[in-house]
């Protein structure tokens, strides 16, 4: 039995909304809300908050599950990994010790997604080579046809050095770099005042993504994947300016059919 005269606490209001309140206390809270419009308003706002969350995120649960999350596929992948045994052993020890799911708090770790790593590799290459005065590239921009032919052959798809004259950028040249799985092509551009932008492209494990932005210190990168080929445009962290350059490149690589 509860006493209807006991004031309703904030905890009880939450529990009321979340169906955690003992059944015999519900009527007390309902009566309380009629007499306390401020609390009734808070309860209303929490309920509409839940509706907003469902309106925004329920659609995700209704999307078809992406291929990469299919259990069949994940099982095959995890069986091919030798470290699986170590992980299971570690988990078992933790289970025996704690007997609960708490082991995950200690054992779990995850890394940046592989495509973000791809962008970070490109940013590293950008920082390494834009400061080079004498040897920024292996093949000069004046030798464009040879550069494109050579890099296309090594990366395994047709790559053209985008023409960025409209954005005020001249091709300095390019070089071959190690990529995540296969070699990467790297092009450098500069403005008359010496500001440099680079394009890094290689085969990616990600099929197609929207354009994304990464920022590190004073450098920015716009990156995307298109039919299994990744592109990273690095340069200034000024988003609007970088975006103009990235868009110009995107439009041209699209037609080149990466």
């Amino acid at each position: 039995m509860t006493d209807p005269n006991i004031p309703v606490t904030e905890d009880e209001l939450h529990a009321f909304v979340d169906d955690e309140l003992p059944a015999e206390r519900r009527a007390d809270v309902e009566a309380w809300l009629k007499a306390h419009p401020d609390d009734a308003e808070r309860v209303r706002s929490w309920r509409s908050m839940a509706e907003l969350l469902h309106a925004r995120y329920d659609a995700v649960a209704e999307e078809p599950v992406p291929q990469r999350l299919e259990l069949e596929r994940l099982t095959r992948q995890s069986q091919s990994r030798p470290w699986i045994y170590g992980a299971v052993a570690a988990a078992l020890v933790a289970f025996l010790a704690g007997g609960s799911i708490g082991w995950l708090a200690h054992g779990a770790s995850t890394s940046t997604s592989s495509f973000q790593t791809f962008a970070l590799d490109a940013l590293d290459a950008h920082r390494t080579y834009v400061v080079e005065v004498r040897h920024p590239v292996e093949v000069e921009g004046s030798d464009r046809a040879h550069l494109q032919q050579w890099l296309s052959k090594r990366v395994g798809y047709t790559i053209k050095a985008p023409d960025l004259e409209s954005a005020g950028l001249k091709l300095v040249g390019g070089r071959l770099l190690p990529g995540p799985d296969t070699p990467a092509a790297f092009f450098m551009y500069e403005t008359p005042s010496g500001e440099r932008f680079t394009l890094y492209t290689s085969r990616a494990r990600t099929d197609t993504t929207s354009m994304r932005f990464a920022e590190q210190d004073k450098d920015g990168a716009m990156f995307w994947a298109d039919k299994g080929v990744g592109y990273v445009v690095s340069g200034t962290s000024d988003k609007a300016r970088l975006n103009t350059v990235a868009r110009a490149i995107y439009d041209q690589t699209d037609k080149a059919g990466g």
Binding site: L52, Y57, V60, E63, L69, L74, V88, T110, Q216
Partner: protein, 162 residues
Amino acid sequence: MNAFRDGVESMIPALRRYARALARDSDIADDLVQDTLVRALRSEKLFLGGDLRSWLYTILTNLNRNRRRSLARKPVFTELYDNNADASGTEAEGRDISRALAHLVEEQRSVLLLVMLEGLSYREVADIQGVPIGTVMSRLARARAHVKAYLDGERPALRAVK
């Protein structure tokens, strides 16, 4: 397929929803779900009954916490266009709530989503976060207060009209 796998599989849509709201980036969210599933499958033999649903939410919550910790000193990745990741079913209200979530600290966001979006009990959330129920309730109360303040502040026009 056995019962364990059927159970895991049936949870994928809800895990994706929770991950999307938690990370607010569709790629990162699916990475989290993928890592969660790999871990779950790997530990199948260790799972001797119990609440599969809570267990999966626990893995995902912990993976996200570790991800954020490891990202703390790495470059910041953001969506270039606000409505890009939110392309499905975007509406003004939806964007508001996801921005409001961005302002919460990790533990509060997780509690709020587990209770309000995923419908877990306080007891289950306490187990997932490894804290007493009282802590769950105070995190939930603070999260709700923050989101309410944010949403109220976001829509001065609506209040002014009334």
